[in-house]
Symmetry: C2
Subunit: 572 residues, 2 copies
């Protein structure tokens, strides 16, 4: 028989109809000779009833039936008796009086339960992902992901954007330590790389006059194992010509308006706040500030010049966070803050409470008058090099929120962080790009190329949601000269530049329009919309943080002959 | 100034308005002191006019302006004088009386012209793809591709399908000679592979109860250089549970109805013809028959048992094609058919015309009575082993169509070819899967596993459009035993089976629903809809058939240190 309806869609409007459903046995109950078999399919669960089943022609099958077997059931839909109506269940007003049942597939004993949402070790869930995906909590996420991707695409198409697929097998750029390599079979000793992003291609599309491009693109990065990254991920990639920063930012705000409205029924207020990188660091100690909370960092350097504490009096910078009505002011908790900062590589934190006024009378005077410091308030103070202290205070702020269990006023706070440094020093002390080398500097900072490139600011913008960076973008360089200047500042020789980026410099020479764009982490966006902590909860088949895949047991060893065809061999 | 309108969208409804456009200089003409500067952007071209330009404040710029420079122009829209209206041009009724012009970007001399559709060598077009993409012929294709992908996605969403992204970095399956390999950095000596298709993942999604899945998925295959394949390509991938062959076929017919209607305004007639593989081979000598033409192959074996030609009389099979009113019946052309077949590895072809009746009187008698053979008709005949002869006749049929320049009645003929062999012999004489090893055999052929597996037929279906295979699919195996039987028939040991497909066999043991699906080549589909011969004309950044990329000069060499990080080295 053909399926006539999804099990999960049977409702009172079908009462009296004969239906055929196909799906998985969810639950079986025997109530005094009446057998109830709940059947689950994609749309939900429906109850089938088999009165006096033991004497029916299907007795053999009904007696033996097990959860997670696949069955086909025909029968007539009827209303449940009033007392049996289940209001928790979509189909709870009806049931199917079974007339026929066929077992389509049987099952071995399951590694974990499907029908109840019990906790299961993640590696086990991943090994049996096809079973994990049967569980409502996960499958609902994947369904929503499909819906969100549709909303995203519809939004961009509606706004005149063209989706263009850019290559995933691309040129290897020397020094790309996070590139996956692909040995070429046809070109001995040569390699392709997997695309880290469509960055250069989307810029070429602007030079090619596409004007408004977007793509839900796969990107690949050979990440070190971190809590919540995947080696392949999906990016909402956007680029526009003849625009400025604000137009890109407004576009993304419009997109988020649609997504938050459709998925969460929340109407986000536009425009979002804009913080410069410098402000974000000074006020929140991070370029990814969580604005759902106050607890801003105060620059207390001048106040502490009158402190009785020598270390603070003499520090080049003193910063502090005032925590109002701190509920956890026990010695143990205060020590906890100090230990936390030490665990983060700081020298510890000094704590001021109003009942300790005598410790530092001058400072407390100002605290009371200028900061309205009151009983129950806490001041946590740190002194030292300014930016390092700010960073530690930023971490302390997050720690306070957690320890004090401070509840945010709003569920979502979105903020733009702009004017990032164009360059920064990496761990080896070399200049690198803060974002990527195609980011345009602020016009007024161009003279700093020759004097102080580390002070240059970028025409860049990151979007931060609840302290999580969702993506970022910039206005790009279209001057061949400035692009070359950036490469030189990064320490590339003329030969390097030509080899790595010659084609881009050439492209910039043939009439390049002003352009800019943004890239958003799609996995992260979906996770935020669905309230999931980990992106693995919104990916159908994720890998573990080690990159290992318990489902298929990848990566694996490869025969010698196959490697030989690719002109490589393993070096232990 | 901000752009107020796309150049290509200026029309009579804007007459009198001041507008600002931004784009590329397309053409410059000086008509007796009046300068015409055509400006192109994504939407088209508009003419700007600069009367007495030599005395204007913009004289310096206007004198020096060059094609493909990027400019910003402001001015007022006016109607062209009646005699200057250009009906070939979208904006041909109007022009912009220029008041201000800024040069945004200049250009070096171009490698080829953009504004006229001249022939350019493909490798040069690919090296400067960003310029090639400015040309209308190519950019229009990429725009249409975006539109088609939207239509495809909308169709599947409308029909209750969920788009799920499956991994591209996957397990390497031993023996996968067409797999791209990715060395693992974290697991010394181990490798991932790039996904050839989402086949197994989509089956797992069915086992996971997703019921209706689709994806526009990237696939990777390390193809040998062939005329029209790419190492990465896009696939419309579909899978459904609890369905049969016809439901998949009807779904795809419904999809094509939408695409042909929306893109070409053609209403395809449903359902399509269905040919078995055996019929297709016997009637057209190929499993990808082009049904826009007749010229079917006739089995003439019994007739030629009375032939005067010994070689045909004694052949185990004689097949022929009757070409009615053949216009090219000169000796030279006939010899051409013979040579063509020889060039394809055949022994040549015998040609019969009515004025040569005396050569083989018995045969001609039947030809005239049974086949209404008439003056001007040609019979091309071949004898030998049946299936080899049919294959050659299939090639001959294509050759005849080309040589005789036969025009099809219909622009598109779509046909399903079904019941393919489950297995075939490869060049080394080993049994391999005709499609893939997850294809279900016909139920009535299951007993042949032990006796004659090469005679087994598959529950498979290919969709063929005008002689081009657009894709194919099948009903999948859900019985663990049958799946194991297939693997064994393919010569895999128990250990191989466990290592390669253990996880799939396991998945089949936990309640697998009946399921099947299809995969369509999206690049090819777009090419067919746009009337392009080569898929490279519908891909923004294709690679050459050698896999080489002239744009970025990939693949390339990699530093020793980088290879060392990946635990591999190059072996010459």
């Amino acid at each position: 028989m053909k399926r006539t309806i999804y099990a999960g869609n049977v409702s009172v409007e079908h009462v009296g109809e004969n239906v055929t459903i196909k799906g998985w046995v969810q639950k079986i109950r025997n109530h005094g000779g009446v057998l109830f078999v709940d059947v689950r399919d994609r749309e939900g669960v429906v109850q089938t009833v088999w009165p006096d089943f033991f004497n029916s022609i299907h007795a053999d099958l009904l007696v033996a039936i097990k959860p997670e077997e696949v069955v086909e059931i025909s029968g007539s839909v009827r209303r449940r008796p009033e007392e049996s109506v289940n209001h928790q269940m979509k189909t709870g007003e009806v049931e199917i009086l079974g007339s026929d049942i066929i077992r389509i597939s049987s099952t071995l004993p399951l590694p974990f339960e499907i029908s109840r949402e019990i906790q299961v070790k993640e590696s086990l869930r991943m090994k049996y992902r096809y079973l994990d995906l049967r569980r409502e909590s996960l499958s609902k996420n994947i369904f929503f992901r499909s819906k969100i991707s549709k909303l995203v695409r519809d939004f961009f198409h509606r706004n005149g954007f063209i989706e263009v697929e850019t290559p995933l097998i691309v040129k290897y750029t020397p020094g790309g330590a996070r590139n996956f390599l692909i040995p070429s079979r046809l070109f001995t000793g040569k390699f392709f790389a997997l695309a880290e992003s469509p960055q250069i291609y989307k810029q070429l599309l602007m030079i090619a006059n596409f004007d408004k491009y977007f793509q839900l693109s796969k990107c690949f990065r050979d990440e070190d194992p971190r809590s919540d990254r995947q080696i392949e991920f999906t990016q909402i990639d956007v680029e526009m010509s003849f625009i400025d920063e604000l137009e890109v930012m407004r576009l993304i705000e419009d997109l988020f308006y649609v997504l938050w409205k459709e998925i969460l029924n929340i109407e986000l207020v536009q425009p979002y706040k804009i913080l410069t990188y410098h402000e974000a660091i000074c006020r929140y100690g991070t370029d990814k500030p969580d604005l759902r909370f106050g607890l801003e960092i105060e620059d207390l350097t001048s106040i502490f010049q009158h402190s009785t504490f020598q270390y603070l009096r003499e520090a080049s910078f003193v910063g502090g966070i005032i925590c109002r009505k701190a509920s956890k002011i026990s010695r143990k908790y205060l020590q906890g803050y100090d230990e936390f900062i030490k665990s983060q590589g700081g020298k510890g934190v000094k704590v001021f409470k109003l009942d300790e006024e005598e410790k530092d009378p001058e400072v407390f005077k100002v605290l009371k008058t200028k900061y309205y410091f009151q009983p129950g308030d806490l001041l946590l103070v740190m002194g030292g090099e300014k930016f390092h202290s700010l960073e530690l205070l930023g971490l302390l702020r997050k720690n306070i929120i957690e320890v004090e269990n401070i509840i945010p006023d709003k569920e979502f706070e979105l903020v733009w962080v702009v004017d990032f440094p164009l360059f920064e020093l990496n761990n080896e002390g070399n200049i690198t790009s803060k974002h990527h080398p195609f980011t345009s500097p602020l016009v007024e900072d161009i003279p700093l190329f020759s004097t102080n490139p580390l002070m240059m600011r970028a025409r860049s913008y990151d979007i931060v949601v609840n302290g999580v960076e969702l993506g970022g973008g910039s206005i790009r360089i279209i001057s061949r000269d400035i692009q070359q200047e950036v490469f030189k500042t990064l320490g590339l020789s003329d030969k390097d530049i030509e080899e790595k980026f010659g084609f881009l410099l050439k492209a910039l020479s043939f009439g390049a329009p002003p352009h800019g764009g943004i890239a958003l982490g799609f996995d992260r966006l979906v996770a935020i919309l669905l309230g999931e902590e980990s992106i693995r909860e919104v990916i159908a088949f994720p890998k573990m943080t080690s990159t290992y895949d318990p489902l298929t047991d990848a990566p694996s060893e490869v025969e010698y002959q196959q490697l030989k065809n690719l002109h490589i061999k393993v070096e232990e």
